[in-house]
Structure formats: C-alpha cells, structure tokens
C-alpha cells in the first residue's frame, strides 16, 4: 500500500461535493407504523469505535455484521444479543472505503467497497472465498476522473467503478450495482463469470444516476435504488426493465424480506450534508409491497434514538426487526416495528 503523508507544510483542501438534491416523496396519506429503537443494541468493547455506519446485515443465526468507515474501513461481527464477536478482514487489501455488507443464503458475508472497487466474499468463518473487481494499482497514482459533464467510459466486465451493493438470485447469480463512476447493474454467474450488464448514466428508463443499493426478490427480480433519479427501477433476472417506482423520494438503501410474502423497504434518507432545509421532508423509511404499493412508513431525520441521520444500510431478515446503519450518527439501530398497531388513514396509500 502506498501512502502519502500529509504534513503541516501543506494545506488540506476539502473536496467540494455538491449538495445532494433530496426530494420529498410524492406518495401521500401513508400510515405511520409505530416502532421502537432498542437502546444499546450493539455492545462495543472499550476503545473500539464505530465510524460511519455504512453497511449492516444479519446471518441465519441472527449474527450482525457491520461494515464501517472507522479510522480504517473495518468489518465487525456481533452475536444475536449484540455482543461483539470478532473483526473480519483486519487490514484487508480490499478494505478502503466501506459501502455495503450483505449475507447470502449460505451465510457467506459479502463486502462491497467503493474505495477499492471490489466485492469480497468471505465464508462464514471469515476466510476470503471470491473477489470481483480489482483495487487500482497505487503505483500508478490517482486516476484522473473524466471532466465534469462527460459520460464515463464504457464499463468493463470485470472492472467496477465505485460499486455500491450486491445481491443474488435463487440460482446464485450475482448482481452488483456499479455505482458512482459506472452507472449500471452487472450480472455474474455464481462462479463470478461476467454474464451481462445494463445501464448508462442518465435519467431515461433503464439509465441510472448513482445506483446506490440493490436487492433481489425470490423470483430473481432485481430492485435498484436509482438514488439521483429519485426512483426504484425493477429489472427481471435477464436485466430487462419491468417497472419504475418514483413515489418514495430518493432511495438510499433497499431491503427485501424473506418468506412467502415479501416486502420491500426503502429509505428516503436525510442527506449526509445535514442541510436544515431537508430535515422535515426526508428521513423516513417506506414499507412497500413488491409491486410498489406503499404499506406504511416510519422514522424521521435526527440524531436521537428512533431518529435517523442518513440511513445507509438496512437489514430486514425479520420483517419487524430491522437493523439500520447511519452515516452521520456513527451507529447502528435495531428497530422493532409494531405494524398491528398502525392506524389506517382515511385514504389508503395509493399506487
């Protein structure tokens, strides 16, 4: 790893990142789902700190995996009671800037890193099983980004451009949302062989503007959080566009529950630049049928328990016990929903 040491003789200049335009969801009259947040759901040992809560996922035993931008990017495992178990991948070559962690049906743990441009598959014990993408060679220095306004170059089959998320269909095919630099969804077979990709930068149907999260339902349909376009795009497993849901704000992260009746959760997260102007129109999570019908919503922007400061990762293995990780509060919350207590509004949410 090549490192550049900044010393006091240089001035540190902040990269100006544009404010993300965050929009109010179009859907109205959505029932509020009552919920609680479990205090201190994760117990961290002394002198171990979470940084930005980027990814969170559970396995079949209820163990919780947190992929965090700490001093370095790190992956932690906790048991079903929130007790710290271990760190996975300490000093791993592929851990540069966390983006997502997901657990597949065989309890393998997958980390998607937007700094190293890699997806790393660990077996349940934490051994590396497979890699997709490759960390750019540091010896070549920084890559020059394309000039502003120009489309990115054609995406290569095995080179990811700041990838964001990963999912699998029942056959084990792998889908990656890719990402900030590319604007596509890539499909690999279960052995990591490239099959197909779809998408380019833009706002037309099938195009994407930061595909930021991805989930696959039991039929193999692929749900893509097309964040910058404020919509969820649904593709079938051949990556043919099937539907667009544009009524739930800017989706930052998606989650689909298991079981015979699957639900889709989508977070219209409070922007990470914490602008006062977006505080009252963002921060909520929507619960939807797979066809886009909104069932209910919960949450609001803020730093307290039961409030959300830029949700970036979401786990819904249990439909009423969600784990959410937040960027700017540096934490993970366990959210318990009480949908039976929801009061229907006069007009049911239309879609």
């Amino acid at each position: 790893m090549r490192r550049v040491q900044g010393c006091l003789a240089v001035v540190v200049l902040l990269t100006a990142t544009p404010l993300l335009a965050q929009s109010k969801a179009k859907v109205t009259n959505v029932p509020e789902i009552p919920y609680d947040s479990v205090a201190n759901a994760l117990k961290l040992p002394d002198n171990l700190y979470l940084g930005e809560g980027i990814g969170v996922a559970t396995n079949s035993k209820g163990h919780v995996y947190v992929y965090t931008r700490s001093g370095a990017t790190r992956l932690f495992e906790f048991d079903q009671n929130g007790t710290f178990v271990k760190e996975i991948g300490q000093d791993l070559y592929g851990f540069l800037f966390a983006h997502a962690v997901r657990v597949d049906k065989d309890d393998n743990i997958w980390a998607v890193d937007e700094g190293s441009n890699m997806a790393v598959k660990f077996d349940p014990t934490g051994k590396v099983l497979m890699l997709i993408g490759r960390r750019p060679e540091a010896v070549e220095g920084l890559e020059a980004g394309p000039p502003p306004g120009t489309p990115p170059p054609n995406a290569q089959p095995y080179a990811l451009g700041r990838p964001t998320d990963i999912g699998w269909d029942p056959q084990g095919n792998i889908y990656i949302s890719d990402g900030y630099t590319n604007s596509r969804v890539v499909k690999y077979d279960k052995n990591g062989k490239f099959l197909k990709s779809v998408g380019s930068r833009g706002a037309a149907p099938g195009q994407m503007n930061t595909p930021h999260s991805l989930q696959v339902d039991a039929k193999g349909n692929v749900y893509v959080a097309d964040r910058g376009n404020a919509r969820i795009q649904v593709f079938d497993s051949n990556l043919v566009l099937r539907a667009i849901y544009d009524h739930v704000g800017n989706p930052w992260t998606l989650c689909i529950t298991p079981g015979p009746h699957q639900y889709l959760y989508s977070s219209n997260s409070y922007p990470d630049s914490n602008p006062a102007a977006a505080r009252d129109i963002t921060g909520e999570v929507y619960k939807m049928e797979l066809d886009g019908t909104v069932v209910g919503k919960f949450g609001k922007a803020g730093k307290q328990l039961k409030e959300f400061s830029t949700i970036h990762g979401m786990d819904c293995r249990n439909e009423n016990e969600l784990w959410v990780s937040e960027i700017t509060a540096w934490r993970v919350q366990k959210i318990v929903l009480h949908p039976q207590a929801a009061k229907p509004t006069s007009t049911s949410a239309a879609r």
Partner: protein, 386 residues
C-alpha cells in the same frame, strides 16, 4: 494635513492587513496601565508514559473532577490512495490525565474523525467534546469515552496539494463556503451584489470549525471557522436553530472566529482573531458589543462561579515572539490584569491555542509551538503595570 494623512494610512493599514501580524503590531498590546498578575508554572504537571509524546497542543480542558483532557496533533495524518480518491486517517489523539497530571488513558483510539485537532471542551455534565478542523466534525463523548453525538461530517475525500498563498486583496471565492453554499441564481451573468463569503449553508456544513460551547439549556454553539465565517446554534439534540455571520469586518462579520466561550447568561464570546477583537453575541446570536483592546484573541475562556471572568490570549504568531500575554477581564471588557509573554521557557508561551479556566487562579494552557500544556498558578495582582 500630515496628521490626516497619517490617520488615513493607519486606517488603510488596518483595513488591508488581513494578516494578523501587521494588524497586531498596530494594536500592540492594548490599553495602558494594565496590572501585571504574578504567576508560576507548575513543573512537569503532565506525566506522560514512556514513548508517548504530545505534539502541538491546540486543545486542553478539565472536567469537574479536575481530570485534564488534551487533544493533540501527533503522529501523521495519512492519506491512502484509492482508485480516484484519497482517504485520510489519523493525525490527532485525545488523552486523559487525572487531577495530579498522571496519565489515565487514551480516548477515541483509531476513530474516524481525529485528523487535525482544534479544541477539546468539557460540558457541565462532564461530556467531552472535540472539534476537528480537518474532519469538519464536532464529536461528543460521554465521560466514559463513548460517542454520543456527532455534528458535521468528515469529507469523504481530502485533496492534499501544495500550499498556495492567497493573493491580496482576497477575491471572494464565489461560493459561500461549506459544501455548496451560494444561493441559487445569478447563473446568467454577474451578480448584482458581491457574493457573500463564509455564510455557509443552514445546517451542519462546517468548513474548518474551531470551537464549541453550551448555554444553561444545553444549546450548542459552534464557531465555524476558517472556511466559513459564522457562528451556528443547535439545540441540545443537535437540531440546527440559527446561524449568523460571514467574512468581513463589521458587526456579526468575522475573519476567523477562532475561539468561543459562553457566560452563565448564555452570551457568546467570539475570538474574532484576524479582526483583533472579541465580539459578544446574545443567546439569539444578536450583536451586543465588541472589545478591541486585547490584541489578537486566539483563545478565550470564561470562568465559572458567581463572579465570572473572561480570559483572552493575545498569542504570538507562528515564528515570532511578539506579544503572547493573556488578559483577565470582567465580562464587560474591563481589563483586570495580564500575565505571560511569548517564549519557550517555563512561564513563557508558544502560541497559546486553548485556555482552561475552570479554576480562575489555576489556568491550563495548550501551546502549539511548544508542544506542551502548562498549569499556571495566578497570584494576587501586584502594583506594577506594563
């Protein structure tokens, strides 16, 4: 005629001297006949374990038990090459010592937000707050050292490039600072009025923030800072309430609001460093008054208790031995006395960057260029003046 010319020249100098040193020399040390406060410096107050070093000490603060927290720039900020970006880590550490100066522990080992220390402060509940200038973060730790709240966000990527001196007169940089900033509009041609620099964006978009304080209700006040030039008020839960200020020299304008202190009534004292003044704001961030007679304030501190005092350090700049004294003042700006001078020996100061005055006669100072904390014991003022 000559006199008029001289005054004009002085005024011009004052206006154009964006850089402190010349302005500082103009103002010099301030008013005449200030009593000298005798004082001692406690030798070897902080006992560091072997192989542990302080670097520059921008931050020092005590809690209600007298424990001392030191936020220091030490080690090296490291930038790691990603594909098209660099990721920054490390560069600052937070240490705790007990009331006798014995080392207790380190807080925030390997944490995401410690890049370039600016201050540490302890609130009435003994929570520990740090302000990191490069990470654009205010971080609140509980007394045990767990993170309770963050305000602001560390930039995902920080470009490191060679220093380029600004070309005076500093042309407004177009944007309002922070992440984006300037209001929409004016795209089609030259704006009718010059763009406002340093106003920031309503919310948490800090741009090199400098200090934090609280009023009796727990509202949070942040001076922000080098990039922005504003003061921001949040409620106790971190919800944005209000902001004031932009770059400039008038009331509620700032040129590096570098330090912030609160009195018991909730008034806000801002060390408006390059403007050579302390601005006093009320709790709703309205301008109340300003003190122009204490040189260039780098660090301010208000003591607790029934009779509160305001301390302000006219610190020497990096690379000179000018000034360096601390003023003790009434809250209304009346100077009670002064002590100290620039230098490297005990009882001398190397660019004091933060003052702790929980005990008005036992002052802790953190020094940038001497890499140390001194504990100062003040005695009754003598009759000698300077």
């Amino acid at each position: 005629m000559k006199r008029t010319l001289l005054i004009s020249l002085v005024a011009l100098l004052l206006v154009t001297a964006g850089h402190a040193i010349s302005a500082q020399q103009q103002f010099g040390g301030a008013q005449l006949a200030v009593p000298e406060i005798p004082f001692d410096s406690v030798p070897n107050f902080l006992k560091l374990p072997d192989k542990m070093y302080l670097g520059e000490v921008p931050g020092v603060a005590t809690n209600s038990k007298g424990h001392v927290f030191v936020y220091t720039r030490t080690g090296t900020m490291t930038a790691t090459l990603g594909g098209s970006r660099v990721f920054t880590h490390n560069g600052s550490r937070l240490f705790e010592f007990d009331e006798k100066g014995a080392y207790v522990r380190e807080i925030g080992v390997g944490i995401y937000g410690f890049l370039f220390a600016h201050v540490v402060r302890v609130d009435p509940q003994d929570n520990i707050w740090v302000v990191d200038e490069a990470a654009n973060l205010v971080i609140k730790f509980d007394p045990a050292g767990k993170v309770l709240m963050t305000i602001g966000r560390k930039p995902e990527s920080i470009n490191v490039r060679n220093y380029e001196p600004p070309t005076p007169p500093a042309a407004p940089a177009g944007r309002g600072g922070g992440e984006g900033g300037a209001p929409a509009g004016g795209r089609g041609g030259a704006p009718a009025t010059p763009p406002v620099v340093g106003a920031g964006v309503a919310g948490e978009s800090f741009n090199r923030p400098t200090d934090v304080g609280w009023d009796a209700q727990g509202n949070i006040f942040v001076s922000d800072g080098y990039g922005n030039s504003r003061v921001v008020k949040f409620d106790k839960n971190g919800v944005f309430v209000k902001m004031v200020g932009h770059r400039g020299t008038g009331p509620l304008e700032f040129n590096t609001p570098h330090s912030l202190a609160m009195d018991a009534k909730g008034n806000v004292y801002i060390a408006d460093r390059a403007n050579n003044r302390i601005q006093v704001l009320d709790n709703d961030l309205n301008f109340k008054t300003q003190y122009l007679n204490v040189g260039q304030p780098w660090a301010v501190c208000v003591s607790p208790g029934a009779h509160q005092y305001l301390f302000s350090s006219n610190s020497n700049g990096i690379g000179n031995f000018d000034n360096g004294e601390i003023y003790k003042m009434e809250l209304d700006g009346k100077i009670v006395g002064r002590f100290g001078e620039a230098g490297k020996q005990m009882k001398q100061f190397g660019s004091i960057h933060e003052i702790d005055c929980r005990n008005e006669n036992e002052i802790l100072v953190g020094e940038l260029t001497n890499w140390r904390v001194q504990k100062l014991l003040l005695k009754a003022p003598s009759n000698s003046t300077k």
